[in-house]
Point group: D2
Chain length 345, copies 4
């Protein structure tokens, strides 16, 4: 049975990726597209300047874009994906949940609120239990689930594998992030050609807080955040897609490269349509993963790790994920699949 | 009085930058250019494929390139600059020193040898005292001084300032390095367009060892290496010039952002022609320094620092230097100036 | 029935693309891989530094690379694809043809020889008749077919459509070519980042001669070259794949934009596995085709045209094709399919 | 005696280049900076996001930005430079001229109006005579002079040299234009990394009309446009600065490469501070000029030509100029110098 879904903020960079993910999806059927008032009433083809490097799906192209308003979305839509700007999402998402919609959102608002599940299905699917908490506390009929920021999601699966096996104490991460992470117009060409920018507003804080919530324990009532120290340094570089990260993970126990590689490779995936068979791919070649060569593995949903080395206090390694697929649209779709699997739809 | 100088390995990327630095130099006069046998006997114009973005100096263009052999270099040349490939340098540099030449070398061979001074004049000019040790031990008439690797030189001045003021305990550094650091043909376009490579062979080790030697104490006989832990993670990105680095510097004493900024700004420069008036420029803007905007400050000889933040154990900051000027050719020229100043010529 | 095929020069950039095309092919089965002596005896995985952005096919990875010598290729191989350097191809390709092999070659040698068919199957499949001529003249048992240069192949299908409909008199073309056209190491990053190079050795001549042969008439004995004037100006730009070309096509008859678009859209394709259903896609949007967005249409085998305008003497338009697929490996595979279809295997 | 000057639209990309040009100018002194209402009342340092790769001049940084209104500009300002958006310029520039100001404008409005001089001082300084015509016709006290579009200005000096010597009949030009030509935010990074865009709105028309006006004859009353056919095809590529153009120039007389090179080299410059000693530099190397290597020659005010070849009907060649210096800010400053020289201030 197919679930009818809607996309809030359908014309942006992540919105386009959402449509690319949902259009061929076995369980989801696109039934509503919303955008800001400049696009309302237009066909999606007119409203969106389509820039994904596969053609715009023909049936989606002819859909009419509606306003981002619960009254404009058909009642038989069961699941909403949100890629609204966070300032918009903060105001509008609760209106939809109050109206009874179940929503998987990529927007950054509410991610660290106590009663909002922030989930990567392979890592902390049980945090979905917070939906009961949020319904109790907020009187919501619907449900709201968030996926983390694209830079956070890249490192958390390997950190979760290492934490489980060896105990994390201290994490430092330096990122080399692709321009698509800032949206279509976020980084101008004059800013980034032959250049790098050692600052992405708010990003370091997101990595430091979201990762500790994701790696935390849900005790049935609340999430006890992981108490590892996490410090991030974020950089924008001239790549289109794929965030590469250098991580130092200090561990409670001593660990060898081989033990780490094994823990990473054997970290379990989850049986959902968009989740890869093997979640974490470990490269032996010291110069991998690389954004252009490795971002598309497992249809952009894989996490790649390489360059594992022992340090004084633990390990250092590099990790990579496709920031607009695994780090945004695909992450939301995967959370939607989890909501379906767990009976929330 | 002008010193007649020669450049060994004059046709490569660093060799061209050396010529660009030396040609207008107040104290140095180009008197010999050497290269491999393919170039011998040709005019420099023919032998070098000039790619620096200022024109080839006309008088240099007409000089004849000779073999990299002490017999081919005129006797009245007093100072040699070497940008030979390290495998060549290892064999050939000693021949020149034995023949009595004084050499400032950018090549990586011998850098961590006990009796070879590895110097950044503003940081550890006193290590030049090792020349007496090397003459004693090796029976050399000449002298050999090395400058560090381009990625090392970018972070060592700020680390020296912080070590002096607050005591360094642990350093982790992640680099975003320009393609020119690999030489003209070192990185192909297909490797790096829309990409980053999280590995530069041997580079992490160089940063970890050279920095500890540079920050060490010379006691008149040998250098006691600094005992801070240093761990590096090196990346190549699609920038032409300018290495950007994210540094975590754990310190023995607590330190505020303001104290750190002051220690960096007030770290003394040295009175040599190529040294900037202020060695370390500290940016207030969180998104600076950036390679394209800041690599040319102080004619490419400045060190730029920004993004200073307090952490649990000390500080994190970003630093930047022009890798083929401050990090290579200019570093060698500056060491040449120090040799002249200190009476070794 | 599957045809067993071999790839000569299998480790290079085009060789890798050939393997990517042939591995899933319905009619072809990889049975031999050759390379230069440095690779002989190694597994393909070891010999090739695989850089295509899909994984190396596992069964191919374990094949052993042999020397480029007819004695080293198994006798039951029926078809060879050659992506040898042209200087090597000139010496070695005839040895294979003399030994009875049928070869589809991407190498530039022999392309304008009178008895060598230079074919784009959708445009001039009948030129394959030259095989009889070459067998008569050279006493060959096998057969040799060439595909044109990647920059030529991009413009010839639209020129053929316009020539047939309106008669070409004069062609001027300016190219914006991707770095992959020069092979993996052909363009260094220092040459091309923030730059363009208005010269590609020999390329203009190839475009001017090959296009006139391709557009010529085969009368059963020889090809009468098309007598349109063709002048080319070739540039390298910082794109990875996809050659974009600005064309002025002066025509004998007056032609409107609509008539031109119709002639292009209706130009027939051919019924071979690698040929697209519609050969030439015509964009209405004035800013298309673009290399990154449009190079992969029809699995990289389509020709895209846009920006059609009327001029004083005919038309101007832009065209685009994927240079290492439609312009090299895919072009060779398509010629192989034509050889199979036409009974030469 | 120093002329006090103002810059209209001082915060944009061209405005910043104007300030970089004017600040060290021997004859001009910055006395007024205007911008849109968002910047009014702020210091220039605050109002402009300075992105030129030399530091912001300290004295300029502290100037207060005023509204783009004749009442806000001090009366003792004698010359205005305008880099307003053309839609703004169309409304506002006449207000300043009516108020008596003399203006050198880079904005595209009015460029092809009959009574507005469009000048490149080395090419058609005599067109300044149109100022009398415009004063008569419009009742203006001040004067308005325009410089051409950046892509036009690159090719017109070589075309003027060839027209004078051999007679131009037909010109076709294909451009490879840098992103800075579209202003700081004009081209996003996602649009242009690993890509090229074969369309720049209105640009082809500008090249076709402006060039014919520039190459026309001023008879004392009006400019008789040159009657050569000019057709342009414009492309944006991932370069920061420097427009490269492939030109076919058909000529009335036969011409050899040597004759063409001589006519280009000997085309006279003009004796103004910003004009280079030699206007057109002719490269012998077939792969020059290149944007990154050659855009800064003669402080960015030179025109570089290379790749000259004979064709059936004349010549083909490549040309290059720095688009925001020679093609915009420097062009305006040079026109300002001409106005001063000719006594209009």
């Amino acid at each position: 049975m197919t679930v009818r879904v809607g996309v809030l903020g359908a014309t942006g960079a992540v919105g386009q990726r959402l449509i690319q993910q949902i259009d061929p999806h076995p369980d989801f059927e696109l039934a509503a597209l919303t955008a800001s008032s400049a696009s309302t009433g237009k066909s999606y083809r007119e409203a969106a300047k389509w820039r994904v490097d596969s053609p715009i799906p023909e049936d989606v192209a002819d859909m009419t874009v509606v306003a981002t308003d619960p009254d404009e979305v058909p009642d038989d839509v069961d699941l909403l994906f949100s890629s609204l700007p966070s300032s918009v999402g903060e105001a509008v998402e609760p209106e939809f949940i109050e109206a009874g919609y179940v929503m998987s959102s990529n927007s950054s608002n509410f991610r660290t609120d106590e009663d909002i599940p922030l989930t990567i299905p392979e890592v902390n699917a049980d945090h979905l239990g917070l939906i009961e908490v949020q319904r109790d506390e907020r009187g919501w009929d619907g449900a709201l689930v968030k996926n983390p920021n694209c830079s956070t999601i890249t490192m958390v699966p390997p950190l979760a594998a290492l934490d489980e096996a060896f105990g994390l104490t201290d994490v430092r991460v330096s990122t080399l992030q692709a321009v698509s992470g800032a949206g279509y117009s976020g980084v101008t060409s004059m800013e980034i050609i032959d250049n790098a920018i050692p600052h992405i507003g708010g990003e370091e804080k997101k990595m430091e807080t979201e990762s500790r919530k994701l790696l935390g324990e849900f005790d049935g009532a609340e999430v006890q955040w992981n108490d590892a120290e996490v410090a991030a340094s974020c950089n924008r570089i001239p790549t289109l897609d794929g965030h590469l990260e250098n991580v130092w993970a200090d561990t409670a126990e001593d660990v060898t490269v081989e033990e780490a590689a094994e823990a990473l490779r054997e970290y379990p995936s989850i049986d959902l349509p968009s989740s890869p068979d093997q979640l974490i791919k470990v490269f032996e070649e010291p110069d991998r993963p690389q954004p252009r060569l490795d971002r598309n593995q497992s249809d952009g949903m894989g996490i790649a790790v390489g360059g594992i080395q022992e340090t004084e206090n633990g390990l250092q390694f590099n990790c990579l994920a496709h920031n607009t697929i695994r780090g945004a649209a695909g992450a939301s779709v995967l959370n939607g699949e989890l909501l379906l699997e767990e009976g929330y739809l």
